[in-house]
Structure formats: C-alpha cells, structure tokens
C-alpha cells in the first residue's frame, strides 16, 4: 500500500476512513461473527486502498461497502458455501437456528433480534442492514449489491416480512401480533 501517494493517502483518509465502522458492521452481519468480520473488513479496506486511484469521486461509502460486500461473498463461497447455496430455501434456513424454541429461550430482546436477523438468508440480511442500520437509499443499496432496484425492493420486503414473523410470533402460538 506504500504505492498511495501522499495526496491520495490524505484523500483516502478523508473520504474512506470515516466508513470503517460501516464496513465492519456490514461484514459482521454478513459473516455473523466479529473475528471473521475483522479479517474480511481488513482485507476489503486494503483492497479499497489498492484500487483507490480508480475511485473518481461520488459516494465513497457505497464504493467501500461494495468492496466489503464482494470480499464477504468471496469469503463465504470459499469458507461456508452452504450458506449461499441454501439461501433461497427459506424453510431450511428457518429450521437452522431461529426455531420458535430458540427464539423463546434467547435471553432478552436484543439477543432475539440478533438471532432472528442472523437466521435470514445473507441476501435478505444485507438489504436490511444497509437500509435500517446504515440508512442507505434503494439506489445506494442497488449500487452496493449490484442488484436491480426492483430486486432490492422485493428482497427488502421479503426480509422484513420474515424478520417480523420471527420476532412477533416467537412461540408460534396464536396469531396475535405484538405491535
């Protein structure tokens, strides 16, 4: 990374470094763990540094998060291919860990929320994290995920529905929604 000239380095620090938290948070939710997230976020940031000359202004956060996301998916393909291959089989995924029993015994609201979120398929999880935690617009999410806006919207809608039912009916008894 010594190849960044002083001027580029200052620009990188000004434009990209403010989003280190966003980078780590996205990696943490995509990989479902802090240790892996740190490794992958680091790799992504080093890459961003290497490719920084190719960044000609615009939305630095979206640019960085796109690199983080790609690095995460490459890592998942290599280390946990099952997670990506079963992603659209929502039933299987739901059975994996957010069973009503697991959700019911998870200690507090925060733990329940984390568990329910981690149980969503990665592509649902990422749109939710980008929208709700990062406050990205549809257009930004589309840029980060390289998905058409229509797909972003439908993923977001399905993700919300799944998360809502996991949280609102932890014991699956009765259809009363806690609102």
């Amino acid at each position: 990374m010594g190849e960044l000239e002083l001027e580029d380095r200052e620009r990188f620090e000004q434009l990209v470094l403010p989003y280190v938290d966003a980078a780590f948070n996205l990696a943490r939710w995509l990989l479902r763990g802090r240790a892996d997230a740190e490794d992958v976020a680091q790799e992504a940031l080093l890459r961003a540094c290497r490719f920084f000359r190719g960044f000609h202004g615009g939305d630095a956060r979206a640019w960085l998060l796109q690199i983080v996301r790609n690095t995460c998916y490459t890592w998942l393909e290599k280390n946990r291919p099952m997670e990506l291959s079963t992603e659209f089989d929502e039933e299987i995924h739901l059975q994996a860990c957010a069973t009503p029993e697991n959700l019911a015994i998870a200690g507090d609201d925060r733990e329940r929320l984390i568990l329910a979120l981690e149980t969503l398929p990665p592509r649902f999880r990422e749109v939710l994290v980008l929208r709700e935690l990062e406050g990205c617009s549809y257009k930004e999410i589309a840029a980060i995920t390289s998905l058409p806006i229509g797909t972003v919207m439908s993923s977001l809608s399905r993700a919300r529905r799944q998360l809502h039912s996991a949280l609102a009916n932890p014991t699956q008894k009765g259809a009363v929604r806690e609102v």
Partner: protein, 251 residues
Amino acid sequence: MKCDFADSLLQGYFDGELSDRRAAEFERHLGHCDHCATELVDLDWLSGRLQLTPIYEPAPASLRRTINTHLHPIAPTRPASQPLLWQWLTAAAALLFIAFILWRVGPELRSDDYQAELAGEIVDAHLRSLQPGHMTEIASNDERVVKGWFDAKLKFSLPVRDFARAGFALNGGRLDVVEGRSVAVLVYEHNGHPINVFVWPTREPDTSPRTGSRQGFQWVDWRKDKMEFCAVSDAAPADLEQLHKLFHSSV
C-alpha cells in the same frame, strides 16, 4: 384482507422513496385500506426495533490501527550518495550511543508503549460496553453460572469470584476483543460504578499492579499465575486498588 396495491408501493412509501405524485396517490389509497394501514404500523414497529436496539457493531480499534499502519509505513531511509569518513564515524558513534540507551532503558520504554496502547484499547472496549445492552452477555451474580458460561466459550479456565460482601458485586460477564484477541470480561458494580475486569492468558511473569487513567477512566493492570488482568472504571483509583487486592488474595 390482502390489498391489490403493490407491496413495493407500500415499502417505497414507508422508506420515503416515492415521488410526490406517487406518495399522494398512495396516501389517498391509505385513507380507506385497513390492510395497508396495518402493514405500515408493522413496518414502523420493525424499523424501530432494528434502529433502537444497540446492534450496530462499530469497528474494533485493532482494525483501525492495522489500516493506519498500512497507510503510514515507516519511510525507508536513503543512504547518502558520497559519505565522508567523518560522517560515517559520527553516525556510528550515534548508533552506539542509541544502542546503549536502548539497552539500558529500552525494555522500560517498550513496556510503557505497550501499556499505553493496551490501556487505550481497554478504555475503548469499556466505553463500548457502556452502551445499553452491551455490558453483559451472561447476567448473573452466581459465580458458578458465570464460570460455567465462560468455560463453554474459553480455551482457558477463568477464575470467577463475587466480592459482593466487600462492596464489589458480580453482575455477569461477556466476551470482548482487545488487541485482536478474544478476552473474557467480568463485570462488577461498586457504588453504582460499573467495573470491567478484562482477563486473558499470558506467558509473561507476574507483575505488581500498574495504574493509569485515560479519557477520565481509571485502569489497573496486573499479571498473576499466567493470567493478565486489567480493571477499568470511572470509580476512584482506590476502589480499583481494593478490587485488585481482592482478586490477588482470592485467585
């Protein structure tokens, strides 16, 4: 009753992504559609849960440090083109002098650097833990329960003691990351002040406690029986010293 209005319109309206004209159209529809009204409330509930629960995870200090080190590598020194003999000699003498100084006080300096860096990370971790819901992953004042929780997660055996009788009540524990490695954290409370005691295995010999303060927090660090402990809190330094003594005599 399911409504004919496209789901994407509802989402777009909720997320503020519709054009003014489309939003007005949807609002007219909303006036007489119970289904969409309920869905909006659900969306709002879910969004509130996601945004109000502290689940956003900021980057650990170690990640920032790694990136910084990469951005500011130590510049290689350029050898002089035609060095004169006396320049070499001066340089050699200076090097000898520096080597001597480093030999005498180096270990002390290195250790202080390490301590300062460690204290910085520990205080960062302490600050993070003060956010609502971040303090304990296992909340219990039962030594055995807390120890059992850690034993299932750690590769080392962690001594867990409740010092409630001495005024330091065990509140639970959690795992945290300091200097890029997982550490155990025992959480105590003393007169309303939360105290985090970070514990991890070490190969270094035992030390007497070192203390310091940073960003308004006190810390005390010591090593005993191949374990390093670092307690940090906004409590008075004397309180931390007392906690150190309790640990020292019990562990």
